[in-house]
Assembly symmetry: C2
Homo-oligomer: 232 residues x 2
């Protein structure tokens, strides 16, 4: 059975207060000209996660080491790729805001696209993005986003969207963008700072968000959140 194994990436970021995903405009058939998740085949002696990290570096130029990357699921319907049997292992990557708008490596171009416009209920309205994503990438994107949303509740994952130092407001902005709901700034502040190991004060302050100076924090060490954050 000749089977290809690919690693596809759901690379998420929060820009302008909205959740966005990195997509590639396909330069070859099938699905020429359509948007697709970045990815590629796993090499003969390459681990699955190594392949995902390599693709991530190729597409974003990010020296992947510090980027959060986790496996989401594997997709293997026999007819998911018209070229033949391809099993795709999907990875979720979370990157802090201002990663270079990306350099197209081959004849394809990449860009950040708002997730909300891709996941409209119903089959990706035509007015959204062309005719929707290539292959089964809409489903993969949906699963990846759902994973991210769920993990924000019980893990400190939201900090993976932030630069090394951030304010509580900025962290709240991540939650609001990913969940799509407004949160009470005061209760959020209390909750985050009282959950041990979530964030730790760096001592510095900033006024970049306007108003009274805000304390800067960096990620804590807790692997899970007790108690969890609750969705609006």
């Amino acid at each position: 059975m000749p089977v290809g194994v690919a690693a596809d990436l759901v690379i998420l970021t929060v820009r302008d207060g909205r959740l966005q995903v990195l997509l590639i405009r396909r330069g070859i058939e099938p699905y020429l000209g359509r948007w697709a998740l970045p990815g590629g085949f796993v090499r003969p002696d390459e681990d699955l996660e190594s392949a995902a990290r390599r693709e991530l570096a190729e597409e974003t130029g990010l020296s992947s080491e510090r980027i959060h990357l986790e496996q989401v699921a594997t997709y293997g319907a026999p007819d998911r790729d018209p070229r033949g049997r391809v099993v795709s292992v999907a990875y979720l990557a979370l990157v802090p805001d201002p990663p270079a708008p990306v350099a197209g490596s081959d004849a394809s171009s990449a860009s950040w696209v708002e997730v909300a416009s891709l996941l409209q209920d119903g089959a990706a309205g035509p007015e959204a993005v062309a005719d929707g994503l290539a292959f089964d990438h809409r489903r993969i994107l949906g699963d990846g986003v759902e994973r991210a949303r769920a993990k924000l509740e019980y893990s400190p994952l939201a900090t993976a969207f932030c630069p090394a130092e951030f304010t509580i407001s900025e962290l709240r902005g991540i939650y609001e963008a990913v969940w799509g709901t407004p949160l009470d700034p005061r209760n959020f502040h209390r909750k985050v700072t009282k959950t041990t190991g979530f964030v730790e004060p760096s001592g510095a302050t900033t006024t970049r968000d306007g108003g009274r100076p805000a304390q800067l924090f960096h990620r804590g060490t807790a692997p899970t959140l007790h108690p969890p954050m609750t969705r609006g």
Copy 2:
């Protein structure tokens, strides 16, 4: 790149109040004579989940349709199988208590093994089960069990371990076996019956557990639990 794609199964049940997993005694090299998770290669025109269901039926004789089955993760380290490159998609199956003790299809034998004895901290003590599981199956088992433990909290998954009709005590026994902690029978009863959509009374009662007759319930329709069950 010649790559084999396999589906491996973590088949869990609760028997005698303890969490057990179905293992196969390997009849061929490599790892001849060692315990391993049941599984096999995905066929050319077969979906991944179909392959998992087929293996499940072959190993347990269970007409898989009503069995809970979900994908857990995919394992693809280049050296995980000495025969060559094999990427394995692991599935978690939960079966109600008394599935036939299994009929060995080929030269191998299958049996239920207590999970606790396989996952002792440290590298599976020698006294546990032979020299531990074949391949990277100990890790796969660990991931599968962790998935099950986590999902009991926020989903009605525990009912997948139960027959069509069950008492609240029996359901509690599932939680206690999977989590490995005792739960207060009174608070558990209240919590389960008050969480809408978790279980629904069938009207009948039974005294099979001794004492006062207990109401029988069947699974409800809620996909998730609000509020979640909490681990002791």
